[in-house]
Amino acid sequence: MGYTYAGLERSADKGVRWTGFSNTGIVKNGIGRSYALRYYNADLVVWTPKAIYVVYEHRTTASKIRINYALPNGRIDVEPNNTWVFRHGNGKKFLVKSGMRIANDGKVSGAGNYAKWWAKTGPEIKRRRNEQARLRYWRRMRDMALRPERFAPEIHKPTHKLSVESILAERNTTIRMVMAAIYGIPKFLEDAKAEVVNSEAGYDLLRFNLGNSEPRWASDVVRPINVQALKMVCPSTDTTYIETVPPNMANVRAALDWRFQTQDYLGRVGQQT
């Protein structure tokens, strides 16, 4: 015969099932209140013959130790994002959810559709989280490389060694762009042998396609992600300069006008040295 207390449904054969909590009918005295409040935020409650174990999300390893004490060893994992994950007997992982049933011997049941959903969606979610984490890492590396004044010298220790191959091997376009920015867009365009889109009056417009934008919503348009630069030779020193221009510049004229904020650079310029 089972009974329910503070959202815990207990039965001798099935262990504990957390049904989710409601505030009604629980809080009668001081002790009950404290238990109710604690259980209210709990993710998992395991009721063994000796004690009740309460597991909270985003908590320290102390509760993990307690739950591992209560359950067969190695059944509970902590994911890198610090959520609790229960490892089923078949090796599959899933998050601890409301409505799951944990038996005294550690067997889990009641995951139902959630387990199916997680098996299907989990890898994709993990991939996105992984890419978000890598993007955060590379943005920080970029800030350290391009804006070192914001960082203390002792923490400015880039560990990566970028090459054109390693940048192009990156599968995420956004991260690829960040890596190219660290590498240096002019150097990247030169080393990657960027195509010359337009040439006029000794200027070359270089363009390299880093990939396409990834649409997130149905209304998003897939656009090419380009980096562009203007290649020019200084008439005084014969030195070649490559200077970055916005990716939407169509030709040398537009790029020069953007660069010098003029209307008709090539039409009006007299002396150039």
Binding site: E131, L135, R142, L146, N172, T173, T174, M177, V178, A180, A181, I182, I185, S213, E214, P215, R216, D220, I225, V227, Q228, C234, P235, S236, T237, E243, T244, V245, P246, P247, W258, R259, F260, Q261, T262, Y265, R268, V269, G270, Q271, Q272, T273
Partner: protein
């Protein structure tokens, strides 16, 4: 004899390295287009240095500060060539350029696109 007004918008622009000189008017252009407010007050720039390179320390500068004057109006920098002789702008690497007499030039510094900063605005992922 007729005196034709000079069309400064048709005058040739001049570039020396990353510094671009655009003729905007006569020698009195800055006085005409300034006021007493903080954003259009004329400030004299001493030394004749138009732009100094950050890493090399090389500078675009007026060869003779008696022929050309640097004026700052708001955030804009102007070279006023007052005399009839023109003014020469020199640089350690680039060949000198000569600015026309009785002309005011607006100084424009070439800009670059910062892919490091702008990446987030056009790459949506």
């Amino acid at each position: 004899m007729t005196i034709e007004a000079i069309d400064y918008s048709r005058m040739r622009t001049i570039r020396q390295g990353d510094v671009f000189f655009i003729p905007v008017g006569g020698a009195d252009y800055v006085e005409k287009h300034s006021g007493r407010n903080s954003w259009d007050r004329v400030q004299d720039v001493e030394g004749g240095i138009i732009q100094r390179g950050e890493s090399t320390g090389h500078a675009h500068r007026l060869e003779d500060t008696r022929r050309g004057f640097l004026k700052k109006v708001g955030s804009g920098l102007f070279v006023v060539v007052a005399g009839a002789l023109g003014a020469k702008v020199i640089h350690e690497e680039h060949k000198p350029v000569t600015l026309e007499p009785d002309t005011t030039y607006q100084v424009q510094i070439a800009r670059e696109f910062d892919y490091g900063a702008e990446e987030a605005s056009f790459v949506r992922d």
